[in-house]
């Protein structure tokens, strides 16, 4: 068929079987080009046997979404070329498209096939009596700028990421309850950073395991900025050998 010299150009896709792709790559002619389109799974698609490279073959991969993201001008040219090609010769379309209403999205997706013979699926945004089930957008956190958020512990790394997330979402007042207050350098840096950003921080020294300490802390929250949320992140980490654990729990 190619007189044993292999194919000049081979087109492969993200759903082409890896065995076929690998073997075909080996059939690439000297100075041939192996073109691979679609999403790549870097873990799966190790087709790059080096033998064809010794005969100046090239492996070229692309994804249309990357063109859209990084080289839209090329995509603009391709769109124009595609439409022009079709206008010159409408018979280039081998199968009629199947049109699905947006309400039948699910069956459209299910009917999708990688076969070269498959027809194109189109989604029509026209009125329909059916309804389309959609996942609601995940709720986003909105913190009140007038409320105090009562943070138990939270003066370490976890507190840093929590407080920055909460301030991004509107929080302006924090009260931290911790046994060592801002004695730890990391805690001090965290509180100073928040204060420099205009966030009001109150640090109360106390133990969350003591009812008295907690009541005192809650009583110290200003009335005009009542507590609207509590984050319990107090914990003590100690590393022990397993056989000591029984002793610790006994104590």
């Amino acid at each position: 068929m190619t007189n044993g010299s292999g194919f000049d150009v081979i087109l492969s896709g993200g759903y082409t079987g890896p065995a076929l792709a690998r073997e075909s790559w080996r059939y690439t002619a000297p100075l041939g080009r192996f073109v691979d389109f679609g999403r790549k799974n870097v873990l799966k698609r190790a087709i790059l046997d080096t033998i064809p490279l010794h005969q100046s073959a090239s492996y070229l991969s692309y994804d249309i979404l990357d063109l859209y993201g990084h080289k839209p001008q090329i995509l603009a040219y391709l769109l124009k070329s595609a439409v022009t090609l079709f206008r010159k010769d409408p018979s280039v379309l081998v199968a009629d498209a199947e049109v699905y209403n947006i309400a039948d999205l699910e069956s459209a997706v299910c009917s999708f096939s990688d076969s070269v013979l498959s027809s194109k699926k189109l989604i029509a945004y026209t009125a329909s009596k059916k309804t389309l089930e959609v996942f609601p957008t995940a709720p986003t956190l909105r913190c009140s700028p007038d409320a105090t958020y009562f943070m138990v512990g939270c003066l370490g790394g976890l507190g840093r990421s929590l407080t920055s997330w909460m301030t991004e979402n509107g929080a302006r007042h924090f009260a931290f309850l911790g046994r060592s207050g801002t004695d730890q350098e990391q805690a001090r840096i965290l509180v100073e950073g928040l204060q420099n950003a205009g966030i009001h921080c109150q640090v109360i020294r106390g133990d969350v395991a003591s009812k008295e300490d907690v009541e005192r802390a809650v009583a110290s929250i200003p009335k005009e900025h009542p507590i609207r949320g509590v984050v319990q992140a107090a914990m003590v980490l100690r590393v022990y050998f397993l056989f000591y654990l029984q002793l610790i729990s006994d104590n």
């Binding site: 087109l11 492969s12 896709g13 759903y15 063109l67 409408p90 379309l93 081998v94 076969s115």
Partner: protein, 133 residues
């Protein structure tokens, strides 16, 4: 519509590239819009860009296919593979396609039409069943 877009007007029927998630309203660059003329079938035209843009980019832009070169389209390449056969032909290349199985051959020939001059089988592995179109 953005200022400076002169060749389109509100109400035009168009085909565009806009990769959104089924949103009812989508925005994209005017460069990625092609107008559908009054006498044209929007359903047909809408099925062109996705597959043909990829086929043209792969064969013309990247591979720079020359006339009389052999082009092999592997299986499971979907509509892009079908478009690539046509693009290869417009570039005057010799196009081949891998069929998944012997029973698929008649359907391939019937659907992809054309000058079915020969079909042949390469030895395994894997069994490459190719049809010249």
């Amino acid at each position: 519509m953005g200022l400076g877009v002169t060749d389109l007007k509100v109400g035009d029927v168009v085909v565009v590239f806009a990769f959104d998630k089924f949103a009812t309203f989508q925005s994209t660059s005017a460069d990625l819009v092609q107008k559908v003329e009054k006498d044209e079938d929007v359903t047909k035209l809408a099925s062109v860009p996705w597959s043909f843009a990829q086929a043209i980019y792969g064969l013309e832009t990247l591979a720079r296919v020359e006339s009389d070169e052999t082009v092999l389209v592997l299986s499971n390449t979907g509509a892009v593979g079908a478009a690539a056969l046509k693009v290869a032909q417009t570039l005057s290349a010799k196009a081949f396609i891998v069929a998944d199985s012997r029973p698929m051959l008649p359907r391939l020939l019937a659907s992809l039409v054309l000058l079915a001059s020969r079909s042949s089988f390469l030895p395994s592995p894997p069994r490459l069943v190719t049809t010249r179109i």
